[in-house]
Symmetry: C3
């Protein structure tokens, strides 16, 4: 190749970081409470910082270790996760300032714990997409994706919150559904047959235990994700609803996992992933008064959808639509995100001052008398209108995600970003120094997971074992 | 079998979850502060939620990974842990409402961060019992145990707190001793000779490192466990006492572990477990003014008892009493829980207004003038009386745990719950799809850990190595 | 040997713990808010306890798992880490009382969450030094080091804060640089050729993934480390600065890592370690208004220095100076700590009331009118003077660390502390019972990492692979 891999990755990455530093130096300040020259401070650290830390662990420990499931990809999974996440967080603050703050009029960007949570949320979006591309893309390709995806994601969130004025406190639409369908669109564009047939596309006994570290931290801290940006009583409901949803979700996941196996056995990939779908499914309405029982219903339905997706859906996506989804993000983030959107829309359509109290206008500000797109609504939106807008935000999300993902995939497919050779698909040796102490290199000695050579991680054929 | 394993597990589990959802939908509300229609809210989230999250990580990451110590049980350990924990938490809120709240008189159950902590505490009880049954029971059997044990455990706690009016802030009696002796009673009923002789009953080098993840998180967050439900200055004392106890405990554990080995070597199972015994031992009196020095004494004594238990006690229990205890819960939770009970009783007997200050009546409300079982005590209980009641609560705990465990064991022994075949004891393949990539399947090539075929995990014969 | 290893370790360790218990029982009390007889309480638990817990996880999970990187040292790394840490924390409270509190005049030591953070900070100092000695020292030797190092470290911090009156909120000088150069001095004294040539001095694929657990927790929680003891707006700046620095640091680390490899591959040891150097580099000025952009510059420079250190520096240190540094603490803690010191000095020299606001006198109390060493400074120090004192504190730190380390190394070299035989260097079997299930014992079958027999962990020769 004309320019070596090492030069390209290093130079592009350093340029990105230098640009960030220049922009931050010129435009980014502390929030007022951290400004030493500001006499009037209130200290949000105790309020938002502990929840930020929970979210931070989810993004970098949770996603990072969840992505160790491939037996030969244990460095790249958490390694690319932290690299992409760190770029996404820095880039998000800038992009958000352009979309959401009055940057053009001379204002400065103010960094704060809530902005740090927003940065982590956008990192989540990107890292969800990474799940569809894991093992099939090089780090440079993924960096290209991050740069583009953060822009599309914030455009979508901007339309959803500022124009459609919808509520999505846990980001089930703006983060989970967006990240999933964006990633799947990229995966479609990059599709090669070898993506499904590589012998390295396999999990290992120990790599699956490492992945459980990620799962359990995500499961424990998800209430903080959905409650992180909620306020006061909504925050407490978000904690309780998410907690309740995830309890039901893991129980139903195990039940369905056993039911779907000929011998009644559990599939570890269901536990690793589908047991988290309840956190996604309850995300849009987490701060609404759905009660613990309602949350459990959402969590249970999400478990069923997600487990079925891992058992059957991913195979169908791959063989029919050439959308190959190695981590199953459609099952964990995509379909549960859509479910969440409809849950949020239903709650919006049922919301009254009686059942929402003062939260009605906190959660749905457009329900108050309001000026929307130049029109004065003296009574504000009706409940049904708000429900309709919630659905509209889902449609917008899916549209921008898929179109943005296709565009991004085309850019990533340009053969200058050092995508992995077929030989090094799903293999750390593509981009890492590997000592041979303990690296699982004996591929020839083991049988592939499926006999027809088309293996997906959710189709372990233990039934015949 | 008449009904296949898969049908049974799925149907029973789904029925349990559906029953939970029905009960929650009918009876469970948010606590007042999360009720959007309640005008008077105070927000306990900042106060209890961070400690809840610490406890949550202990239960699901801590116990979950502690139970990866068996080399071929790395999916089942954390997998059953989260399944059983999720069922226990949901069931606890319901059972607690029956015992502790005025549910009968039309009240509704209020979910709150403190109830979530209580749910996690009861999950701990169940998961401690699981330690005595790990590898020898199927998930359906374990679910039966959860359903019954939560009832017995709350009956015991109800008697202890409402009638005997004892203090046990960290649950050393109600959680640790109860969970341990309940589980050991179940283990006794289910005892088979193969439980001790299975070749799969062995740890592995890597599985023991995974287990250390659990240990260290439990060790770090245990102050939050003992302080979680304490108030104000008692909460701060619980943090400091537990911290102090665990510091001494890990040091003494290492000293005793070396002393007990012919070559002076450490046993990793001691570090994994006995180093936590100080958290249990200080649990009953954690919020009492025992001072850091007193906490260190308790932690040191617990370390000695627990390490000796791992070295000798488990073997004796198994061979003399046919009580097989693979995770050593008698050593980590049982004996240290009894020690804690006596520590609490001693402190109760020494408690005066001079040394406890206003905390005296917060910690021991029966010391204030009070009506107990219909009798008016104008001066309340004396210190010695309170000490006596504390011992009585231990007796009650042991009695209900053992009787409840025996009854539960008999129910679990009914041959309809798919207990594992001898061939699949301590083996994930009993209930999981296992790819053969990295699964330690070469049992024939390794020697058993002891030459007489009776192996316990704490009797590694490395001395001869 | 005259006295067996087991007797020596057990007896020495028990004596240490008994001495601690005696001292604590006589001298240590709760802080006033936890004193039940104190009527005037304010409750610092919500303010400091969550940050303490983050720091606690860093010290015991973070360092503990970071030290699993050696393939045959997976028990000793986290095991000695928790043992040494527990001794250091207990000893610190006592030593701090002698240096910082008025213990001599009859005062009592008050344990509090802030003292617990200080204890953990000193544990960090010791555990950093451990990184230079990992695998080459026995636990008894290391305990000797802990006892001496905590005294030297607190002497240094006492001089720095009480006499030189410098600011070092994240302990980059007092903890990181001190711990690094102390440990390297010890390593120099203990140097043997076999330290570099042992075949067991190697990482493994799975041990490196375990180490990533430590890395990511350290990376996530480092903002709490630097902010833990800061106050109000300084605390918020410390959070934001450390967060910003680490984001840039991990990106630049990956860029430089790829650039330094012939094939453009990443080195996992860079990700594990250099990506954290930004947390060190920003430590001294973390609470100063360096702005996020400034923090990113520091993080980026630290990444470059640290990655270069792992690639070239450790080899040079070992071959030229006989300072063998298996965990690369010079690269992660030493050089970035020196960078931090100069960053702090530069900020001190630039600090005015205009840019620091009221924080000026909080961060640099000697800038206010003040009496220093008996001389009255009516206007206090000038900015340049404060900058000079900051540099003086670095010089003092390096001097005390190196001299103290040399002395300590000489004590540790006395052949009564059971240092490991050459055969058991970097090998858990030196001091642990090891079952042979999964222990990587096939050393003869693998090639050494470098052909000249001089291997350092950062010199994997994957380039030729």
């Amino acid at each position: 190749m004309a320019v070596s891999k090492r030069v390209k990755f290093s130079v592009v990455t350093l340029i990105i970081q230098i640009v960030f530093i220049v922009i931050y130096t010129i435009f980014v300040d502390y929030e007022d409470s951290a400004d030493p020259t500001n006499p009037n401070k209130d200290y949000p650290t105790p309020k938002y910082y502990p929840m930020f830390q929970d979210v931070h662990v989810m993004i970098f420990v949770g996603f990072g270790f969840l992505y160790t499931f491939l037996q030969r990809y244990g460095y790249s999974g958490p390694g690319y996760n932290i690299l992409l996440g760190a770029v996404a967080v820095q880039w998000t603050l800038i992009v958000r300032a352009l979309f959401f703050h009055d940057l053009a009029s001379g204002g400065r960007v103010k960094m704060s714990p809530t902005e740090m949570i927003s940065g982590d949320f956008n990192a989540a979006t990107v890292l969800i997409s990474f799940g569809a591309l894991i093992g099939k893309t090089g780090p440079l390709q993924l960096l290209v994706m991050v740069v583009l995806e953060v822009v599309f994601a914030n455009l979508n969130e901007y339309i959803g919150t500022e124009h459609l004025k919808v509520s999505d406190i846990g980001g089930s639409m703006f983060i989970h559904a967006f990240g999933a369908y964006f990633g799947l669109a990229v995966s479609r564009v990059l599709y090669k047959h070898s993506h499904k047939t590589s012998a390295s596309l396999r999990t290992g006994y120990l790599s699956d235990i490492f992945a459980l570290i990620g799962t359990i931290f995500l499961w424990c801290f998800w209430p903080s994700f959905n409650a992180g940006l909620a306020s006061e009583d909504g925050r407490l409901r978000a904690v309780i609803n998410t907690f309740s949803s995830l309890l039901a979700c893991v129980v139903v996941t195990m039940a369905i996992s056993s039911m779907l196996s000929r011998r009644g056995n559990f599939d570890i990939s269901h536990l690793q992933n589908a047991s988290l779908a309840g956190g996604v499914a309850v995300g849009t309405c987490a701060n609404m008064p759905i009660k613990p029982g309602g949350a459990m219903v959402l969590g249970s339905v999400a478990a069923i959808i997600s487990t079925l997706g891992y058992k059957y859906g991913s195979d169908i996506l791959a063989s029919r639509l050439k959308v190959h989804d190695p981590a199953g993000i459609n099952n964990l983030h995509g379909m549960p995100g859509v479910l969440a959107a409809f849950g949020g829309a239903a709650m919006a359509a049922l919301a009254t001052k009686d059942n929402f109290g003062d939260s009605l206008y906190v959660i749905f500000p457009a329900r108050a008398h309001n000026t929307i797109n130049g029109t004065l609504y003296p009574e504000g939106r009706s409940a049904n209108e708000q429900g309709g807008y919630q659905v509209a935000a889902l449609v917008t999300t899916l549209t921008i995600a898929i179109v943005g993902g296709l565009i991004t995939g085309l850019v990533m497919r340009i053969p200058i970003w050092d995508d992995p050779e077929d030989e090094f698909l799903y293999d750390d040796r593509d981009y890492w120094e590997i000592s041979d102490h303990g690296f699982p290199s004996d591929l020839s000695e083991v049988r592939p997971l499926t006999t027809d050579g088309e293996m997906l991680r959710n189709s372990t054929n233990g039934d015949e074992m």
